[in-house]
Symmetry: C2
């Protein structure tokens, strides 16, 4: 075989995926469990959103055996359908995990098909963790190789790179050979899609769901003998260059098997854009330190870097827009003392109080602040000013959520769908995932039982 | 609603799709029937290829109700699965139709979901024709707007643009409103994928199948209420620009509803790249006019434009490579007096006679020849030379296949799968498609009955 084929990206990644055993990734298991915990929290929290209900209703007539759980729902689908729907609910509010270097949400497209397939085939929790860690590795390394231009050009990177992670993880779960894993990754290249222009709409959910579903599909096709070009990712007419990038092969393959992208994963305390987390933290700090109340506030100035301003200074007409509005991220902590799912839902977002308060908030560029940092300055009707600066927001790599905070995130999200003892049992299983001979009992719990009827 | 949204591409196309009735497109019905006839010919001819068998085997456990026929096979799938598999078989050998301006193969991604959905829902032949014509219109206009850069950059345009045609056609069949059709087209943007790098492999089939399947999926999701960005196609972070193109909106929308892209469709007499058709015709002409036999031939020179040389001067190691080999396109007519599916299949392609003959053929640039033309010059062992030039190949717009030739193409392709009276009955139905109250009897015939067991 010519050197050019031996060293192709698909094959090099496939060699890692095939050669890596549980023992090789056991040191990453804690972070993997935190990612999966967070995945369940966001999926169950959004399980009855109309976007999830519609996806499920559309797919029900097109499902084979109902082998796999829909998180937070009593309906079941085949593994490909469940992968699609669970990836949508996990990512729906962008409240899922974030890989800061790429802004990929790693878990949704990878955990959804891994869990659906493992449930359908009765696979071991250790295999789930191993496959998940490897899938995140492939997904984020490919994302690293094309960032930040890829997203800036209009590609929804969670969708476009997520499918590679899904394909690699499912190929690992299926026990494929190096050649077949490489083919699964290459087949994923021909299915990679998703536009930023569509992010404010439900079309975004379709590309995230497809990344999960079609990554599994790629692995199933490779298992049956479908092949792909050796250089499907990096070739002259391959994925990266068609999408506009000269992939950085050093970032893609450097330190492969020695460093792990899962160790850089982060989890959000607030269901809002990650760039606004420092703003929210600063508002909470002002509220707690100076006991500033809403009625006292005459004006709020938010100082931040260019990204914060570019992303966040916008009119809010609905809940989707509130999650990427700097103004609403100031309003929520001051108005309600909380910035959770409820404070970013339509009723609160469009309340008279919120609409009025948001008009008090102005944004200003402060180029001296590091990326992700923010300063919030409150002026009261009495003429006093209070100021707080947050450099490392809660949930960032420098200030990560604790295990207990992640437990609480699951509990809060699941409280409407599961009785408290079930939540506790599910959390115990998740933290002991490497010992579960099959994940069926865990998935049965996560289906919930007190779920509301779908609209 | 702001002007910018009113005039968005998705909505403008949706208005055409919603407003167009059978009466508006009846004048295009003849060409539409020719396209669908040709679609059936190529689909049934490849129905037992391993690539089709694998796709079918992979999807069978993931199918809902078996509502739809797999052409040339006894197995059935739900409409999304059947759309996937039938698009693959129709396009497998690139022996399907060609829209010359874009090199899109229009029928595979559009006819496959239209027929699968119409069969599942018991729809009228007139609705099938109307939806198909509109789907081809949307698909090829979007292709026109980004050609030729799109394909040159590495996008497999039949897949990437085919999905828009599939979405529009299925939305029409479902009777969706203007808004919902626009959403279906916009949702298609977030699923558009397929790389040229993967064309020599089965990964190509996946993107073609997905275009058909996911176009239907987009329409079903839009029917249930999923929305897309108004400028999903042409917006700053939308489909066209993410893929690298400033779309030519004049070519996309100019003369909408007055001209019809289906009228520019062409059909191949030979299962080889369209750029080689003039070479094959010239070889047949030499053989017939001068009675040159293989044994007499010492050398062959083929003169053509740069595209012909770029695409065709290559070593042949398998059937896929033979279909894009100038050398094999010379060998087939001289060795066997035919250039059909059999002459491009593995056994003939790798025969000693073909391997030896191909070494006699040399390519030369002739920049004076128009695109698509070729000159073939044969030198005999006796020292004589014979020369033939073909400017308009058989099957081109200037020299189209006749209806009788298309009938013969269907008959030849179906002969192993259907008894002659069934073929005749199917052809009668196809030419009278506008009178079929339901297409079920046609699809039942096209399933075949003498089909070989799948490998």
């Amino acid at each position: 075989m010519p050197q050019s084929e031996v060293s192709g990206v698909s094959r090099t990644l496939a060699e890692l995926v095939a050669a890596t055993s549980w023992a090789d990734v056991a040191a990453q298991q804690h972070e993997a469990k935190r990612s999966i915990l967070n995945f369940f929290a966001t999926a169950i929290g959004s399980a009855h959103d109309p976007a999830v209900t519609i996806a499920l209703r559309t797919l029900l007539p097109f499902s084979g055996g109902a082998s796999s759980t829909i998180i937070g729902r009593t309906e079941r689908l085949d593994a490909m359908g469940a992968a699609f729907v669970n990836a949508i609910s996990a990512n729906l509010l962008d409240f899922d995990d974030t890989h800061p270097e790429t802004i990929i949400h790693p878990a949704a497209p990878v955990a959804a098909p891994v869990l659906a397939l493992a449930e359908a085939r009765g696979l071991h929790g250790r295999d789930v963790l191993t496959a998940f860690i490897l899938g995140v590795e492939v997904e984020c390394r490919i994302g690293n190789a094309v960032s930040p231009q890829h997203y800036a050009r209009g590609w929804h990177i969670t969708s476009t790179c997520g499918i590679f992670g899904a394909a690699a993880a499912c190929a690992k779960l299926l026990g494929l050979s190096v050649d077949d894993i490489a083919n699964a990754i290459g087949i994923a290249a021909s299915q990679s899609a998703g536009n930023v222009e569509n992010l404010p709409t439900a079309a975004k959910n379709v590309s995230v769901g497809n990344a999960a579903r079609n990554g599994l599909f790629a692995a199933l096709l490779a298992q049956q003998g479908y092949e792909a070009a050796p250089r499907a990712i990096e070739g002259p007419l391959g994925w990266a260059r068609a999408m506009g990038d000269d992939p950085d092969l050093g970032r893609l393959l450097g330190g492969l098997g020695q460093t792990w992208e899962i160790s850089k994963n982060t989890y959000k305390p607030y269901p809002a854009g990650i760039v606004f987390h420092a703003v929210i933290d600063a508002c909470f700090a002002l509220r707690e330190q100076y006991h500033v109340t809403t009625a006292q506030i005459a004006a709020v100035r938010v100082r931040g870097d260019a990204l914060l301003l570019a992303r966040g200074d916008r009119l809010v007409r609905n809940a989707r827009e509130a999650r990427v509005s700097m103004q609403h991220c100031v309003a929520a902590p001051f108005l309600w003392g909380k910035a959770g799912v409820e404070e970013f839902a339509e009723a609160r977002v469009m309340s008279d109080a919120a609409v009025a308060f948001r008009t008090l908030v102005r944004a200003e560029l402060d180029a001296s602040l590091p990326m992700g940092a923010a300063t919030v300055i409150v002026r009261t009707h009495a003429g006093d000013t209070y100021e707080a600066t947050v450099v490392h927001a809660r949930g960032s790599l420098a200030h990560p959520l604790s295990d207990a905070e992640l437990d609480a995130k699951v509990s809060a999200a699941a409280s409407g769908a599961m009785p408290a003892p079930d939540i506790e049992q599910a959390l115990t299983m998740l933290w002991q995932l490497q010992h579960l001979a099959t994940i069926e009992p865990l998935m049965a719990l996560m289906a919930g039982c007190a779920a509301a009827e779908s609209p």
